[in-house]
Each structure stands twice: as structure tokens, then as C-alpha cells.
């Protein structure tokens, strides 16, 4: 039930809707953006970060919650498994069954490698499945990969590793073509040209979509292809340690059955970490749009064997998480809602910012409006601002919402909110891990034969990511990691397997004075209420 305060505020929003819809709000200057970020973005709250006291990134800043996991204890002892008796012995081991893991598995398999996919839930249980808005690629006549590069580089605060970003934008059109060739559906005009929209921070309309199920459409097709190609997938099987060989090269992983806790060894010539993001760590107590399994496992696995991280201190808070109703608190309201014309409106019905600033700037502006502006609209468990969805149909005609964002219509209608008629309350929600494991252009980390793809990578986007560049990165870097890992596997002769790093890491913990008992990787969040 909407509160009286909400209903009163909605009246003001309705009264100003027509004028607001016609308005073209100004974009912020570079200085104004810097200021709002420093003052309001969660990444700038110093007390929420700490310096790592051990490992490759020692002395560098990470969120408190991540430090606890990176400096955590291993779940196993080296003596718990028999390394001389691997259950699986493959060319390429892919850890993670989301978008990048599936794309990697397909390409590695096609390159002739014997591939195993190990995933801690089911294949397809991943953030890719939940991506709604779209995937970027510069394929329109007024656009080019170079313009895409500039948008992404600037949106990421000029911090991206340029060769990685170049790969992302130049391989984007081919990635779309590859997906379409697998049978992924895209919104198209009758002549076949792609229906594209803006995302926050894009200077050209290059957001390709499959309604607002873009990620789901990609993920279910990739999963189907993995199955059609007969690639072995072992689900409910989490990697808990990377195994090295006696030359310090990655050579497999210890897998744990999520239900029985049984351990087994997977030996591989090359390993790809495709474990995704970290929303379920709930940095700074934020709710998240992420999948149940998004717990930064890959970062922990890689860090423990000596791979360097890049930008682990930067997280993306999606500006429009659901603030009401409670049942879907923190759930993603796709940026496509704003791409289609809905604006952000305050308590008094005033447009307080351009709806398509980059995500970090938009999130910070919403926090600012609630804290120091007109104030947020209160809910029983927080606050938010309005995202005026009825504006979409005012601008684009009746039926637009049902045809272009059916998932949003359904999500709210389950709680008796018709977004065609009523605006929705939103507040920033934890969405994406901008940083991750540092890789070279072959997707290899600092550890030989350990490859990385997808959200677990750091550096592709810099310190903020544009909408639609993540679905793109899972496909581009997933495919590339698969090809590179398969090619590399041809020349690898695996030495003697070892888990000696577990003891040395434990020793380093002691020397650094780390005394916590936190086990990592985390694997799953703990939501069960303590009942005793």
C-alpha cells in the first residue's frame, strides 16, 4: 500500500508531468560531476575502506568487506585432497557458468579443447541472466568504435586499460553478429536494422536490446549452445582453491560439491576464472541487483595464488534500484526506462537532473537529492525519488511500456503497481564490480595459465562502467579468453600439482597479524535467520 505521503507526492508529479516530459534538462559540467561524486558517492567514503596488509596488492585500498575475504582463511587444507588422483582431467577448466564462462566454453570447445565447466549453482545462474537494458556496439552509420571508445573511456574516468577497452569496442559489432548467429533475438526494425537507444553517458544511440530481457535472452541461448555442443558442465560444484603446478602455473582447481561438501580435483592445462561479481557481499549495507551467487569468489581464488587486482576499490551503484515495495527492494529498474524517456523527479515533482548522466553521477545525484535537496520520499524501510514511468507513454505512445519493457511492467504489477499509470520509487543499489583481476590482452592474469573473463576482470571499464558495456564485455572477453586458453593449452605440459600456496598464505596471514576466522571464498551469502 502506498503511503499518504507517497500519494500526495504523486499528485505533484502528475501535475508537472507534461511540462517535465517536454523539458531537456542540462547536463552537468565536468567539475560539477566531480563535486557530486566526491561528496555523495559511496566509493568516496574513506571509513568504508582499508589498506590490504598482505598479498600482491598489499598497501592498496579495498572495501572493508572485500579485505576480510581477500585476507580470509582457506576452506581446506592441502591434505584434504589427493592431488595424484584427479576426478577430471581436461585441457581447459572454466570456473563459472554465466555469460562469460559459457562464451569461453563454446569458443574453447570449438578450438578443439576438452572443456569442463564447473559452476557453484546451475549454468545460467548469473548476473548475465539478470541484465535487462541492453548491449552496446557501434554499428550505426553515425557511430564508430572510436566514438564508443571515447564514451566508455570518459565514463570510466579515463582509467581503463586502453588496449582492453580497444578490444571491447572494436570487437563489439562482431560480438552482436556472433550472438545473432547463435539465434539470439534483438529488437529490430522491419528492414532488419537494430532498434537502438541511449544509455547513460553514451553520445550515440548504440544500445541493442531484446526487450528488457537482453541478458536473459543472451544467457539462455549461450546455455543452450553449451548443451548442444555437448560440453561437460558440472553444477552445484564450487571452486574453493586454484591448484598450481610445481612451476607456479595454474593447473586446475579443487571443487566442492555445494550439497554434500565432497571435494574433488580438476586438473587442467589452463584455467579460466569467470565467476562474476560481488553484489551479495552487500558493500556498505546496500541492497543489490545481483544474483545469489555474486560473492567475489574469483577475486579471492586468484589473489590467493598471487594474481594482482586492479581497481578493487570501485563499485557501481545502479542509480535506479527499487525502493518500494519491500518484496523487490534493491531489484534493478533497468536504465532502459530512462533511455525510453522517463525522468527522475523529486518529492515536489521537479526534475532534478538529466536522466542519462553516467551511473556513478546519477547515483550520487539521487543520494544528494535525498540528503541535501528536497529530501527523499519516505518508505517503511528507507527512501527514494520518483522515476516517472508514465512519461514514457506520454512521449512514445500507449503500448510502449508493454512492448519495450515488459519485465518491468510485470515486476511491479505483481505488487499492484501499474507503471504505465504510476511512477515508481527508486534509490541506488549495488550493481557491479568495476574492478577485478588484472589481465593482459590475451585475458591472462599475472599467474601463468590463469585466464579471466567477465565481471571478475578489472580494468576494461576503468572506475565506472557504462550501461550495456558489461553484457558486451562478457561476450567479447569470454570468447577471447576461451580462444586464448585453448590455444595456450596446446603447448602446456602440466607439472606436479601442488596446493602449497595454502600454507604459505596462512603463514603470511600470521606474519601480517591477520587474526580473523573468516573463510573464503564466501560462495553464498548468509540470509537464514539464526533460529535457536
Amino acid at each position: 500500500m502506498l503511503t499518504q505521503e507517497m500519494l500526495d507526492s504523486i499528485k505533484k508529479v502528475e501535475a508537472k508531468r507534461k511540462a517535465n516530459a517536454a523539458l531537456e534538462p542540462e547536463r552537468m559540467s565536468a567539475d560539477a560531476k566531480d563535486e557530486v561524486l566526491k561528496k555523495y558517492h559511496p566509493d568516496y567514503i574513506e571509513s568504508q575502506f582499508t589498506d590490504l596488509v598482505m598479498g600482491v596488492n598489499k598497501g592498496e585500498k579495498v572495501p572493508l568487506e572485500l579485505a576480510e575475504l581477500l585476507e580470509g582463511k582457506s576452506r581446506i587444507k592441502a591434505s584434504d585432497v589427493d592431488l595424484s588422483n584427479p576426478k577430471y582431467d581436461v585441457d581447459v577448466l572454466v570456473i563459472g557458468g554465466g555469460g562469460s564462462g559459457s562464451a569461453a566454453a563454446i569458443e574453447a570447445h570449438r578450438a578443439g579443447a576438452n572443456v569442463l565447466v564447473s559452476t557453484k549453482l546451475r549454468i545460467g545462474d548469473a548476473n548475465t541472466m539478470m541484465a535487462e537494458g541492453g548491449i552496446q556496439a557501434a554499428d550505426k552509420p553515425n557511430d564508430s568504435p572510436e566514438i564508443h571508445f571515447l564514451d566508455a573511456f570518459g565514463g570510466g574516468h579515463f582509467a581503463a586499460k586502453k588496449p582492453l577497452l580497444k578490444k571491447l569496442v572494436t570487437e563489439a559489432p562482431e560480438a552482436i553478429q556472433w550472438l545473432n548467429g547463435l539465434g539470439v533475438e534483438f529488437d529490430k526494425a522491419e528492414d532488419g536494422s537494430m532498434l537502438t537507444t541511449h544509455g547513460g553517458g553514451t553520445s550515440r544511440k548504440r544500445m541493442h536490446a531484446a526487450k528488457d530481457y537482453s541478458g536473459a535472452e543472451i544467457m539462455r541461448t549461450l546455455r543452450d549452445e553449451v548443451q548442444c555442443e555437448g560440453i561437460e558442465v558440472v553444477d552445484f560444484s564450487a571452486a574453493v582453491e586454484i591448484i598450481l603446478d610445481d612451476e607456479g602455473k595454474a593447473a586446475g582447481a579443487v571443487l566442492m560439491n555445494m550439497e554434500t561438501k565432497e571435494l574433488c580435483v580438476a586438473r587442467a592445462k589452463t584455467v579460466i576464472i569467470a565467476t562474476g561479481g560481488a553484489g551479495r557481499i552487500h558493500y556498505q549495507g546496500f541492497p543489490t541487483t545481483n544474483h545469489y551467487g555474486a560473492t567475489a569468489d574469483g577475486l579471492v581464488l586468484a589473489y590467493r595464488v598471487g594474481a594482482k587486482l586492479l581497481y578493487p576499490e570501485t563499485l557501481q551503484y545502479h542509480p535506479t534500484g527499487t525502493a518500494y515495495p519491500q518484496q523487490i527492494y534493491g531489484a534493478l529498474v533497468t536504465e532502459k526506462v530512462r533511455s525510453l524517456g522517463a525522468k527522475l523527479v523529486n518529492k515536489d515533482g521537479e526534475v532534478f537532473m538529466h536522466p542519462l548522466e553516467t551511473r556513478d553521477v546519477a547515483a550520487a545525484s539521487i543520494i544528494k537529492e535525498c540528503r541535501d535537496g528536497k529530501g527523499g520520499i519516505k518508505t517503511p524501510f528507507g527512501e527514494g525519488v520518483w522515476l516517472d514511468t508514465p512519461m514514457i507513454e506520454l512521449k512514445n505512445g500507449e503500448g510502449t511500456i508493454e512492448s519495450r519493457i515488459p519485465a518491468m511492467l510485470r515486476m511491479f504489477s505483481k505488487y499492484d503497481i501499474d507503471i504505465r499509470k504510476t511512477p515508481i520509487l527508486v534509490y541506488p543499489t549495488l550493481h557491479y564490480q568495476n574492478g577485478g583481476i588484472d589481465i593482459d590482452t590475451n585475458c591472462m592474469s599475472g599467474v601463468e595459465n590463469l585466464f579471466v573473463a567477465g565481471e571478475a576482470v578489472g580494468g576494461i571499464h576503468g572506475t565506472n562502467r557504462l550501461m550495456g558495456n558489461s553484457l558486451l564485455d562478457v561476450v567479447v572477453f569470454g570468447r577471447d579468453a576461451g580462444k586464448s586458453a585453448a590455444a595456450k593449452a596446446k603447448d602446456v605440459k602440466v607439472g606436479k600439482l601442488t596446493l602449497a600456496h595454502i600454507d604459505s598464505f596462512e603463514k603470511e596471514r600470521e606474519e601480517a597479524g591477520v587474526t580473523t576466522d573468516t573463510l573464503s571464498p564466501k560462495l553464498l551469502p548468509h540470509y537464514a535467520r539464526e533460529v535457536s
Partner: protein, 226 residues
């Protein structure tokens, strides 16, 4: 009726008292379950949390996604974390967009008895029986559109007397539609060719080699398409 904002539910037959605003999924966690199965995106997109329930005193078995459904008083809940759907293997490059392919891979769709239990059970409100009818006739474009919001939870198949794996049939139809029936984008094809020819190589290299202050200026002054 709820008392003090609490309702009584039965998880696999055992009674628990939980706050009424919870979803079935969060109610299970409130009851103390540490979920591994039957939980996924928690957002209505992945189909991991198919659930069957019945309200005490009511005959009808209802179906839903646990993450998208609020608890009710006297709700008997059974989760369906896995359903053995039939998944046929095919080479998408060899498939032809004709009715033949359905007869070959999923002939059981022609045994549909028209009971409509699939449609009634669908938590996404999809007209499942209708898209199966489209698939039977080889009308893949219509089948793709009708089934588009499918999250592949498998509830429809669990209710089907003919043993049809509806979500898999729909997925095949969508892949055929996406690859063979929907018109190809000429712009996309051309752009991929241009990139392969190295058309943009110099532009990007020159941008990458500029000092960062110059790039910042370019970024801040760039022209934004209306």
C-alpha cells in the same frame, strides 16, 4: 487471517510463523533455511525457484516463483528446484526453419491434448498452450514472441499430461527466429566488414596516443545525439 503481521505457512508440510510481507523465498530464510537449491537471481528472471502451493481448504494447486510471491495464511508450500525437462541436442547451423524440425526433435508436441494446464500454471502469465500450437504449425516467429518472457522454470512441463518440455520447444523456436527468420541487419554486417578491413584502426590509435588532458577535452565537448 494474519495476526500481528504474522502468517502461518507450511514448508514441505511443517508449520512456521513468518512476517506477512515476506516472499516465499525470504520466508523460508526467515524460518531458518540456508538455501542452495531453488534459489537464483531472486528477481524473477532465472526460473530457479519454481514452487507449488495450495491454500488450506482450497482444492486447487497453484504455482509460482518463490522470489516473486508473497506468503499467505495457511499456505502449503513445496518447492520444485529441479525438473527433468527433455533437452534435445541439435546443430543450429544445420537446423532449417520448417515445421519438420519440430516433428523431428520434439514430436510429443503433437500429442498435446489441449488441457491448457501449462498456461494455467505459468508464473509469467504466458499463453503456453498457444505457443505450442504455433510450434506445431511451424510458426516460429509467433511462437518466439508469445514465449519471449519464459524463464524456463519448468512448471508448465510438470503439469503436462503429454510430457512436453515446453520451455525447450520455445527456446528452439526463438533461436530459429533470431537466426533465420528475423531480417538481417545490413548496417551491422557492413560495420563488421569495415572493422575487419582496419577502417577505424588509425582513428582509435590516434585517440589512444593523445595525452589524457586532450582526451578529456574531447570527451567533455563531444557531440551528443539527441
Amino acid at each position: 487471517m494474519s495476526k500481528n503481521g504474522m502468517v502461518h505457512i507450511y514448508l514441505m508440510g511443517k508449520q512456521y510463523e513468518v512476517p506477512e510481507e515476506l516472499t516465499i523465498m525470504t520466508a523460508m530464510e526467515y524460518a531458518g533455511y540456508e538455501l542452495v537449491r531453488g534459489v537464483g537471481c531472486r528477481n524473477g528472471f532465472c526460473g530457479a525457484c519454481a514452487t507449488i502451493y495450495r491454500i488450506k481448504g482450497d482444492q486447487e494447486l497453484k504455482t509460482c516463483l518463490a522470489c516473486q510471491t508473497k506468503v499467505e495464511e495457511d499456505m502449503y508450500i513445496a518447492t520444485l528446484p529441479f525438473f527433468p525437462l527433455v533437452k534435445k541436442v541439435y546443430d543450429i547451423e544445420e537446423v532449417t526453419p520448417s515445421q519438420q524440425i519440430m516433428m523431428q526433435l520434439y514430436p510429443e508436441i503433437y500429442s498435446c491434448v489441449g488441457c491448457n494446464a501449462c498456461t494455467k500454471a505459468c508464473p509469467q502469465g504466458i499463453n503456453v498452450m498457444q505457443y505450442i500450437a504455433y510450434a506445431q504449425r511451424g510458426e516460429f516467429e509467433k511462437c518466439a514472441e508469445e514465449s519471449f518472457d519464459c524463464v524456463m522454470c519448468g512448471i508448465c512441463s510438470s503439469r503436462c499430461p503429454a510430457g512436453i518440455s515446453h520451455p525447450q520447444v520455445a527456446l528452439l523456436a526463438r533461436r530459429i527466429n533470431g537466426k533465420y527468420i528475423a531480417p538481417e541487419s545490413a548496417e551491422l554486417k557492413e560495420r563488421v566488414q569495415e572493422i575487419q578491413n582496419g577502417t577505424f584502426e588509425d582513428l582509435i590509435s590516434s585517440l589512444m596516443n593523445k595525452p589524457v588532458d586532450e582526451v578529456k577535452k574531447l570527451y567533455n565537448q563531444r557531440d551528443i545525439e539527441k
